[in-house]
């Protein structure tokens, strides 16, 4: 379902003004009664629209929808492509490539990404990093971390691992050992399982359609 934002905006403002005027007929616009009605009407109308749009939005961001991929996306190649008509980057999901050398079933993929999110929260990642642009600003944004060129160009050789996911997991377990900047990530004691899960979460997150944020990540063509 597509909702035009201009129609929604004009409708909301129009309804608020008309309903307020109708309820306050008989009193001048400087009287308390007028503004009390305006306060009640605008709160109710805006809350109503928010609730309606929330239902629509939640349907569109459910995992497995067009905007937010299913957790099994970790089995597939994930990339970004410029959509020249919309003038923004959109994630593209390619063929099956496996993850840590295997294909994960729907249930396993859910469990892994879930563990990744738990790990992310348990280590307060958002108090240094931003995710989808939200969080603290002491460390890089992680929205497209899986697609960052540094894993291939630097971290793979640093850690001596053969694949990107293994290099990421190794780096996450010992960030203090592999510095990339004067500000080093502290060693937060991630277990093997937690590191792997965190990589899965980052890969899954990089496939979310974020309306083009961040723009031209790594110079996407």
């Amino acid at each position: 379902m597509e909702i035009g934002w201009i129609e929604t905006t004009i409708g909301a403002l129009f309804a608020t003004v008309v309903l307020t005027l109708w309820l306050s007929r008989g009193s001048g616009w400087l009287e308390p009664r007028f503004w009390r009605n305006a306060a009640v009407v605008s709160s109710l109308i805006m809350t109503g629209i928010l609730l309606y749009l929330t239902i629509d939005s939640l349907n569109q961001i459910r995992e497995g929808s067009a905007r937010v991929p299913a957790y099994t996306v970790i089995n597939k190649a994930v990339g970004l492509k410029r959509d020249y008509e919309k003038r923004r980057d959109i994630p593209v999901i390619g063929e099956e490539v496996g993850f840590f050398g295997k294909l994960w079933s729907e249930k396993e993929a859910y469990a892994l990404v879930n563990k990744g999110k738990m790990t992310l929260q348990s280590r307060n990642c958002m108090d240094c990093h931003t995710l989808l642009g939200n969080g603290a600003y002491f460390a890089p944004d992680l929205t497209r971390a899986w697609l960052d060129p540094k894993w291939e160009t630097m971290v793979k050789s640093m850690t001596g691992k053969a694949t990107k996911e293994e290099a990421m997991a190794e780096w996450l377990k010992h960030p203090d050992r592999y510095p990339t900047f004067v500000r080093r990530m502290p060693n937060l004691g991630l277990t093997d399982e937690e590191a792997m899960a965190l990589v899965a979460f980052l890969k899954w997150m990089s496939a979310i359609d974020t309306n083009g944020f961040p723009d031209r990540f790594a110079g996407v063509q």
Binding site: G4, W5, T8, T9, T16, E31, W35, R36, A38, A39, S43, M46, T47, I49, L53, T54, D56, S57, Q60, I61, R62, E63, R67, Y71, N114, K117, M118, L120, Q121, S122, R123, N124, M126, C128, L132, N134, G135, A136, Y137, P140, D141, D148, P149, K150, D176, V182, R183, R184, N187, L188, E194, A197, I208, D209, N211, F213, D215, F217, A218, G219
Partner: protein, 476 residues
Amino acid sequence: MTQALPQGKLYESQKLALWYFWVALALFGAQVLFGLLAAWQYLDPNFLYGKLNFITNRMLHINAMIVWLLLGFMGGVYWFLPLELGREVVGIRLARFAFFTLIAAVGIVVLVYLLVQYGPGNAFTLWFITEGREYIEAPRWADFGIVAVMAIFLYNVVATALKAQRITGVVAVLMFDLVALAGLYTAGMHYTPNISMDQYFWWWVVHLWVEATWEVLVGSIMAMALMHLLGTPRRIVETWLYLEVALVFGTGILGLGHHYFWIGTPEYWLGLGGFFSALEPIPLVAMVVHAVYDAGMHRMQTVNQPALFWAIAQAFGNFIGAGVWGFMQTLPQINLYSHGTQLAPAHGHLAFFGAYVTAILTVIYMALHQVRRPELPRFDSKLWKWAFVLMVVGIFGMSAAMTIAGFTQTMVERAIGGSTWQAYIDAQQHPWFQNGMVWRFVFGVFFLVSYLVLLWDLVTIGKGEARTAKEVGAHD
């Protein structure tokens, strides 16, 4: 129904409010201290590395702020409510119980934050150590505590109004706002692996809670304060309050959309969020007009100068911090590049200070007047102007420094560098950015000094040699 108190006497509710204020001020100090540690770690990343990491300092910095502002608001309501309704607050023992429970809970949470810091990636950590979601890191058990305390608070306001058989416009707004305040917090109390879903409701707490219900709560408190401070007629104050609620909720509820640009949500939020958040400064402009008009009517003279100055700072600070600095980056075309840079904390610092800190300080100065020298025609000290000026300069300095750093990030990291890890490092090493971080720290130290001056002033103001027995009797 009314029980008028003789001059110099306080309601029990007001005595309780003073406890809220002093604990709030202590936590304010903790906020500044941990903020300073975090700011120093930008300059010397090895400082306390591995022992007290940036994550912990930053978490304590923002959590201390939330708790102290909440305590300040509750203190403000407990201070004015009996005056507004002409009777003692009903559940005063319950309120005291809630106060000590909250303090104990905050103490435990802080100790866990400092000593344990983080845990394994499982539900136990989320329930008992940290929930790891910026601003609402408090473990789940503490979340329930916060909602319970809010419920007791709401009960006290409603029950007192019912008992007094008097529901003024201000109290009506307050009651409805407190329902939203207690209710919206629960939107942050869930777990989902889906980060888009997580962020969707996270913003119900971080935007709707802080930017809408807090704004209205502070509006109610300032309305009560203005009636006492300037003797503004109730009719005018309440009309302004309704107008403000109409505009804050009318623009702010869908203004929430400016947080839904990039978290995976549908495209219509770009238009809705952009439009409604462009309207969001309007109520704040209205407040400035109101404050300037009121203060001008009284030729800037009142029995309580410090309170008047902080009240005016509130109107301007709210408009500049929340309105101007918010609007600066709120349109999606700009936000695409500025989102998640130092511009966000620049706005945050100025907005929280301008909208909330100033309001609480207004009320505290008014309360201290009643407590210490109720008979004095002027409540004054030598220091309060210093505290006021230093603090305003400090917060503006920090915000200006972060604004420059933020624009550097916007250009170097986002627009030119393509937002990669390396682009991030490039921006962080840019001289404009680094100078910004140095000046942020310098003004941070400045702010700490101004906090100490303020604290000293609050402890001493009105305490002269010539205290009469009546004044001593005003203490609890």
